[in-house]
């Protein structure tokens, strides 16, 4: 029996690349209890947070307009890491980017290309509601 849509946990994917959005969404869809929702910018992310019951966010660091780390800091003004886990995703691999994300309030960090098993493990670890 399929899980009804309202029983699934919404995972917000924030990435300006349609390709990367689709890949992340496909990976998350492998778990029946996850419902990936995609947006392309920080502004769309903040709007989605107002309207939907978002359980977790996967957010790209580098996007046009506001950088992911800035959006992360904005979200952390109203949502703690326990209330709303946020995993930052990036192709950048500088240590300063990793440290910057963690200091800004990220729960964890994923590097591109996304590895299927690592992505699922980090999502499951970060969110007690998906365990």
């Amino acid at each position: 029996m399929r899980l009804p849509i309202n029983k699934k946990k919404k995972i917000l994917i924030v990435d300006d690349s349609a390709f990367d959005q689709r890949l992340a969404a496909k990976i998350l869809s492998s778990r029946e209890d996850l419902d990936p929702v995609c947006v392309s910018s920080g502004d769309e992310c903040l709007e989605a947070l107002k309207e939907n019951n978002i359980a977790m966010i996967l957010m790209d660091i580098m996007m046009p307009g506001k950088y992911g780390t800035q959006i992360l800091m904005d979200i952390r003004k109203t949502h703690s890491p326990i209330e709303l886990p946020i995993i930052m995703v990036t192709a950048k691999t500088d240590i300063s980017d990793v440290v910057g994300c963690i200091e800004s309030g990220a729960n964890d960090f994923l590097t591109k290309p996304l590895n299927f098993e690592v992505t699922m493990a980090r999502i499951l670890y970060c969110s007690p509601i998906t365990r």
């Binding site: 300006d16 690349s17 349609a18 390709f19 990367d20 689709r22 890949l23 496909k26 990976i27 492998s30 580098m62 996007m63 046009p64 192709a91 591109k112 290309p113 996304l114 590895n115 299927f116 098993e117």
Partner: protein, 126 residues
């Protein structure tokens, strides 16, 4: 009359085993990832070209970064390296040779897409 044989790179432009392993050897995900790239790469290249021709270095950095991220899924080293160089040029506000590098990127991406189409044919015709 026979149509000319399509040029084959025999999977030399990307690392097939690393790519499939990274996606858990899940055929559905592999097919979807390749198909998605094949339908989006020309838009991504167009964004980079526009950024270069309009002199918008911030857009160059962002669009090259996005394409670099996409090709990294296939461990396509040549395309990745050129996209990275263009990203760095955008970041460092360097405009010398960007068009020449973009032409190299176009060639590398075109070769990659031929290889990916061959691989897609192989896995969907099994």
């Amino acid at each position: 009359m026979n149509s000319p044989k399509r040029q084959s790179f025999r999977y030399r432009t990307f690392q097939k085993d690393r790519f499939t392993e990274n996606l858990g050897q899940t055929t559905d995900l592999i097919v979807d990832t390749i198909s998605s790239f094949l339908s989006t790469y020309s838009d991504q290249l167009a964004k980079i070209e526009t950024a270069i021709t309009t002199g918008n270095l911030q857009d160059l950095e962002i669009s090259a970064h996005a394409l670099k991220g996409a090709v990294s899924n296939f461990y396509a080293d040549e395309a990745y390296l050129i996209a990275w160089k263009l990203e760095q040029m955008g970041h460092d506000k360097v405009t010398t040779d960007t068009l020449s590098l973009f032409q190299q990127l176009t060639v590398a991406i075109n070769h990659l897409t031929l290889d990916l189409r061959d691989f897609l044919d192989e896995i969907t015709n099994k």
